[in-house]
Symmetry: C2
Subunit: 431 residues, 2 copies
Amino acid sequence: MEERVIKAALLGLGTVGTGVYKVLKNQEEEMTAKLGCKVKISRILVRNLEKAARKLGDDSLLTNDWKEIVADPSIEIVIEVMGGIHPAKEYILDALKAGKHVVTANKDLIAVHGRELLEAAGETKADFMFEAAVAGGIPIIGPLKQSLAGNHMTEVMGIVNGTTNFILTRMTQDGMEFKDALALATELGYAEADPTADIDGLDAGRKVAILASVAFNSRVVFDDVYIEGITKISAKDIRYAKEMGCDIKLLGVARNTEEGVEAYVCPMLIPSTHPLATVNDSYNAVFVHGDAVEDAMFFGRGAGEMPTASAVVGDIFEIVRNILAGCCGRIGCTCYKQLPVKKMESTYNRYFLRLHVEDKCGVLAEMTEVFAKYHVSVAQIIQKERKDDDCAEVVVITAKVREGDFKTAIQELSNRASVKRISKTIRVYGN
Amino acid sequence: MEERVIKAALLGLGTVGTGVYKVLKNQEEEMTAKLGCKVKISRILVRNLEKAARKLGDDSLLTNDWKEIVADPSIEIVIEVMGGIHPAKEYILDALKAGKHVVTANKDLIAVHGRELLEAAGETKADFMFEAAVAGGIPIIGPLKQSLAGNHMTEVMGIVNGTTNFILTRMTQDGMEFKDALALATELGYAEADPTADIDGLDAGRKVAILASVAFNSRVVFDDVYIEGITKISAKDIRYAKEMGCDIKLLGVARNTEEGVEAYVCPMLIPSTHPLATVNDSYNAVFVHGDAVEDAMFFGRGAGEMPTASAVVGDIFEIVRNILAGCCGRIGCTCYKQLPVKKMESTYNRYFLRLHVEDKCGVLAEMTEVFAKYHVSVAQIIQKERKDDDCAEVVVITAKVREGDFKTAIQELSNRASVKRISKTIRVYGN
């Protein structure tokens, strides 16, 4: 009997595309035993044919014409690893309409147009999978939709951007300032030439939107996510946090509360005893809490050629198994709820606050009076001994306070004559 | 249209059975939206009808007659959470033959009879799932078979027994001796009345057999796994390990090497910087290394009513989706290779060694001469100052050495007059 071959097309031959090509090669011998058939990349869409031919040492699979792929009925799976919204979105919609299954690693696209894409897949009973869009090689979308499906998830949070975690780790372990750590990250290839999407938290924000949607069975889009980056964090903030038993991490947090979904990305203090505090360098980790599983954490490489390809190929193999069993589309869109997303000002958080005040009697009393007016309780306070410019530096960690109230308190505080400046406010993870 | 209901029977109403019952209740409202139908426990097999009726406050679902369940064609899924080999094995084989799908949490059974059960499921194209058999609520079987399927896994290892991890954590953090930490574990309900299976490493050994089989696509059974427990570990061992930058954990290790599969459970020193070293108390964690994903770790509750039930219900939901999509049995037995399993003496490990020697000139030279004869290199050595009984205590960490060679070296060393006693040998994880 002739061995069955399922044909796939690869859109893009950058870092991830090259990884997918390699991983499929590595699996070639075992595929039939593992899946019941072979998967073969039969076409690769690239912009620059010559460059791609040099990369592969072979130009027989290359094309720069999307129509050749979408019109080829022998291609059953389209693997989109080109990135960006356009034309990736149009290609994926075309492919789904043509009855093909799609795997994508495109977080920008899913975080904004996830619903439309999943609905399009639903119409043709096609598989549409995106494990690689969040936390690289770490299995998280699959486990949330399957092994953990018996839970009401109340929280999914974590370190979902390797570039910023590398930068913060260097600032913590080597006392570097942000700009030096960023320069090192760029030099070592952990940061892109334009690092904005990473350091401003946008990349993490997209992943939080996707994670929240899958974990809470309710669509959360990129615009719903409140985002702050790490550019204002200083080595001093990290040092003071350490004195208070905490590390500073860029956390993506999504919570499923009675009043709606909270979704935000910001640098946060986290107790040094928390499993996430020990996730360093470019590693990622996603922490979940559900009513049955309680706490669970998934740790690994959040980016990179081979780890991301591991996730993409996992999805490809899942689709192949579905094709052979005749059950494509068996898990479609899982967002069957319509939960409201809360505004950031109505969330409750603890705060770390550094401020410079006049070094005289009664100033702390004035500060705590303002705090009391807006329901801000002080959990920890340290007065520093420094006396340059006649000021005392005070570091405070508050109890949980409504964001809106805290902002108002800070506003009022900064207008008081005795308060020279508010140097920093950073949220604190946990109760 | 009438809502479809898929009926399931629960075998056993102990800790896990009760958890499964609760989790399914908690999911009742969402099931149809999530899965496309409801799942209902329509029968519960128990030994003691009265006790079970008191527990549930309802006796309408209870039976002590297996035939009532296996002969009922309306029951499509059997959930075996009674434990033990017999009659669980017979019930599962009966159920599969009757065309029912099976979910089990029974590691004892899978670690010994996994192949026979999976083959029986294959014959009727039934689903047979066992996520809960390893590491409680932590998704690991599912991710290995699916999201990570594009990898050649070279290692899967971890902390897969909560009782012993609790005991070792107390010994490490509070300096307790083994017997006191065990007494505390028993008092707090972390250890069973007869703790043998946990403290002797048998429970962890079963999980290693299952993990290795799934990760390496080749059957490893309980008898293949070399096992040592933690009963001989002392607070002093842990203190000395700390001085050398390590913690002591009961590790289950499986490696896929050129010469065959290594599978063992034993207490090991692990560098305190390794992510597993920070997994404390009754938590479990499984670490995997694959050619594409590189390092990944899965952390969570390894036991307990609700976490284990989370894994069982994840499997139930997976089967329900397969029933509705008409693709049961789509992932059957994944052990398509027949790799040899290595004997422990032909594995290579580093060793931590504590020995008491005569406190005189030339003794270290004699020791290192014996080591050299059997290819044992010393990586770290500390001579302790203690002089009770005129002996010096020497603590050594070796480089990697063939187990058989090390044992012979130790044998020869213990016959030398200058060596008073070999107090302890413990393996060291890593290169």
